[in-house]
Subunit: 570 residues, 2 copies
């Protein structure tokens, strides 16, 4: 800080002038000394001026409460919430997460740099700290058709932005390990910054080679043994507990059972929906769950605060100490960890008021570019001869799939029946216009179709149905709304959740989104899809060609293990 600011704040520190605000008589959680002691926290100009005995122009008596540094989510995609980034951040900040390290790779896959700029702009001057990791894998792999390609050259202009901390999750681990030139240009560009990893199941030597490339973190660990393999290699494990993937219990149980040192662990949510933030919490939920599993509360809070801040080089965040930013969470106790108040830069956050939605530029609401479909575009020819056809099998409660080989019903062309439905991906960025068509099972929709423009990571239009007419109508409905989730039944649109921002997000607010989504999910289940299948989550992952085992892309059906297309689009 400059000298004038220092003189102003240090006068408070030394007791010569009154603080802007004093949090009186609170049990301060010191993440350095691992002590808790009763004291006053003096805040001035948004900074913590001192901890001790202070008086202020405003004083809040917090006798009996606990003060923690604001929580940090080390890795998340704001787009996953389906609402505007600003709205989600404010919602989660009310639960004590004052710092968000986001990877805008959904937006970037649709709109390239403009997508990154949108996330930066939405989260600027907001009552939380939002930092950005630049997307490393746009597109996710070279078999995918995204709306943009981001090379090292495209990312370089962002390096001087103080909100950019490094390179986002490097999903293409084989490009790293095999030394692919474009990937290494990015790794080199970010060599002095933080590089987030994404390496769910590498063999030991491959994991070492991945670490050798300078990868600092990973949030894909699903068990304690693999987490420790990463820790041994100097990788910080971001324990993920989101709406889809939930790895906290498995890892924290291991830590507690082994009495392991926790200094190389932090928390993240990756993907989290607004209703679960409202219901369960955000990073506070991670801490609460870890404590319930037997982790020492101060160790858990360190994982959510100072360790995360140190991992990402955020020297002004993560602690209640002189000079740190005034981000403080007031908790009722260290077991329930109920949020009483949240302060960001020394100012109390509103907990209940309406959240103003910051509008999106019009050009980002017009990103679905495809020709209207007709049923004749959706013909899938049956293979000639005795060979069986590769079918994508959905597994309940999971996003991985299995390949099964089956004889298909129908004469010359595949015709859906009770077991086998049609799945299609329509390139929607106006580039190739290709349509990938395949067969899916264990997604038993009857008499209609469901479609989505949220379809990781390229976000083409994905659709599943039992007849070509409804499939075509569902895709055309999302062309009309410029993105969203839709259900078509018997030749009519049943309902559509419009997601016009990049085809990923709604401006209608989280209450509207939650209400409509709940109703639509119910409807899909009524149409025959099993209750243990989350229809829109399944839809959104069926086209991601980096997750085992079979996926569909606009180019055809892709086998992730074999690394090639097993059914080509016509």
């Amino acid at each position: 800080m400059d000298r004038d600011k220092y003189l102003h704040i240090s006068a408070v520190t030394r007791g010569f002038s009154k603080a802007d605000l004093v949090l009186k008589n609170v049990n301060v959680i010191n993440v350095f000394s691992e002590e808790i002691y009763r004291a006053d926290i003096a805040l001035c100009d948004g900074i913590i001026a001192g901890i001790g005995d202070y008086s202020g122009r405003q004083e809040v008596d917090l006798t009996g409460f606990f003060a923690s540094p604001g929580f940090i989510d080390c890795h998340l995609h704001l787009e996953s919430a389906l609402v505007t980034p600003r709205e989600f951040v404010i919602l989660a900040a009310r639960r004590g997460t004052t710092t968000f390290i986001v990877d805008p790779h959904e937006s970037a896959n649709v709109a390239g740099s403009a997508g990154i700029d949108y996330i930066l702009e939405q989260t600027e001057d907001i009552r939380a700290n939002v930092y950005v990791m630049l997307p490393s894998c746009v597109p996710a792999s070279d078999v995918d058709d995204s709306g943009a390609v981001l090379t090292a050259k495209d990312l370089a202009p962002y390096l001087n932005n103080h909100r950019i901390l490094g390179l986002g999750e490097v999903m293409d681990s084989s490009a790293v390990i095999e030394g692919q030139r474009e990937m290494h240009e990015k790794l080199h560009l970010f060599a002095t910054m933080i590089i987030d990893g994404h390496a769910p199941s590498l063999a030991p030597d491959d994991l070492s080679a991945y670490a050798l490339a300078g990868i600092s973190t990973d949030h894909e660990c699903t068990d304690y043994a693999y987490a420790m393999e990463e820790v041994r290699r100097g990788i910080t494990v971001l324990i993920r507990e989101g709406s889809a993937a939930r790895n906290l219990e498995a890892i924290v149980e291991g830590i507690v059972a082994q009495g392991a040192d926790t200094s190389n662990f932090c928390f993240c949510t990756d993907d989290k929906h607004t209703e679960s933030v409202t219901k369960d919490g955000h990073i506070d939920y991670c801490i609460r769950k870890a404590v319930a599993l037997g982790l020492d509360p101060i160790k858990a809070i360190k994982m959510a605060t100072v360790q995360a801040a140190r991992c990402y080089g955020l020297r002004h965040l993560g602690a209640i100490a002189p000079g740190y930013q005034g981000d403080v969470v007031i908790l009722d106790n260290l077991q329930d960890l109920k949020i009483h108040q949240v302060y960001h830069k020394g100012v109390l956050l509103d907990q209940d008021g309406p959240i103003e939605i910051k509008p999106c530029p019009e050009e980002l609401k017009n990103t679905v570019h495809l020709a209207r479909l007709s049923p004749s575009d959706l013909v899938l020819e049956k293979p000639q001869g005795p060979q069986k056809f590769p079918v994508i099998k959905v597994l309940p409660g999971q996003i991985i799939t299995e390949e099964v080989l089956a004889e298909l019903p129908g004469q010359l062309h595949f015709e859906p029946n009770d077991v086998h439905k049609k799945i299609a991906v329509v390139e929607r960025h106006g580039q190739t216009g290709q349509i990938g068509i395949g067969v899916i099972t264990s997604f038993d929709i009857r008499g209609g179709a469901v479609a989505s423009s949220v379809s990781h990571d390229s976000h083409n239009i994905i659709v599943i149905g039992d007849n070509d007419h409804d499939i075509a109508l569902a895709v055309n409905e999302l062309l009309r709304t410029q993105g969203g989730y839709t259900i078509v039944e018997g030749g009519k649109v049943y309902d559509t959740l419009e997601l016009p921002i990049l085809g990923l997000m709604s401006e209608a607010g989280c209450d509207y989104v939650t209400r409509k989504l709940t109703k639509m999910i119910d409807k899909v289940h009524q149409m025959g899809v099993a209750k243990d299948v989350d229809p829109f989550t399944v839809l959104s992952f069926m086209a991601l060609p980096v997750i085992p085992e079979v996926r569909i892309t606009p180019r055809g059906v892709y086998h992730v293990g074999k690394k090639h297309l097993i059914v080509l689009s016509s």
Copy 2:
């Protein structure tokens, strides 16, 4: 690392090609997981390629030994060793310290930027990692007369040097806290880097104000209670164990007794002589002593390695993991911690060979600029009237002093007697030519004088004697040798340890320096100085006007507590 290097090393990591060197079957100390397991360490291009089962072009069987990351000394002044910087570093590296974070403020006080450049140049391309913190306090305070003044403007050109990590020990704590403009210009310049502190005994609110200014570390803690006050404020405590100040026992005993978390502690030596490095060790001595006091060996090794590296942002150092620099110390066990071998960048260090001395530029060997002294320059007039004279009292085994008021012997002028001796400081940078003259007690030299050009921090010539003739001769001898330690007895030079490099260091090698110094110290004790007074250490600190309570400067006798001169030079 660039792609070609990555491909070369990762081929070793993945077992496709042989390592340059493999340390076989060693007990690897993993500072991340806090585990020890038997494995091979594969080294390639100076980098750790992998830990596991490896083969190499060269293999060393280390069955039964332990492998630690190379040790890090977080704060030291190379000049204190009295030998060339290169020689000291190599000597200490043989004891396992592979990384040195040095503050060249002795050289800088004599020669400004040229002094910093000398340290950088001496320690470049050396078999150890030497980083530099830029001196923050040249001169140490505004009552001192150094050979140079370094402002923020003078330090700025160094910022892009990758060996510069930040700003060196900020001794002038009141300049920080009171918001002195020049100090804050420096703090601002280094705001995004590391700023080392020096705050031995600040009141709680002042310590908070000091931390508020962005100070990251302190090495001046002498007890556990104060160390914890610093830790609570987010300051990393560098536990100091050098030749003069020894604080390890007091702090580590507290840590062990309280079961305190050690993540905010590291080690440093500050000032260490070559003979104690050879005899006891360097950072290995700190670890050994901490373990003997009951600290867990892995925690102690973490303090000496990964924690130090993280504190100073050295992401490639401090651990045995893929991608880390190949700095490895081989120990016989975790109690004795005897050094078996040291590797730097994957190459074994020679343990016994002679150390080549890199010559110093001639201009840095010509820094004592003063007019020859005659006894008449050394007259100290007695105060008129009944007032008593402030006398500097030396305390055994310490560098702090006491002020005592005494009636002085002699008629018009002070004449030394058995109790009171004369002390003088002669400005030697050719600037003011002033001579400060005072009275000292408990330094009972008889029949001669001792002088030194090592005199913190300005390194003027300091001298104590019992007669003006020998005092003048001692100063003139150091003019002749352009610096050193000298003893004069009965009108003749008894012996001189020449320190011609900036008046601080010898090019004659550590054996010569140790032999001569030992003999000279004996001689001073024979001349009457008590055995518990280290004569040249006492001499070297009597002019440092930031250490309590009374000091002498070329401007006169200075009271540190009162912050003014109490006897003015004529």
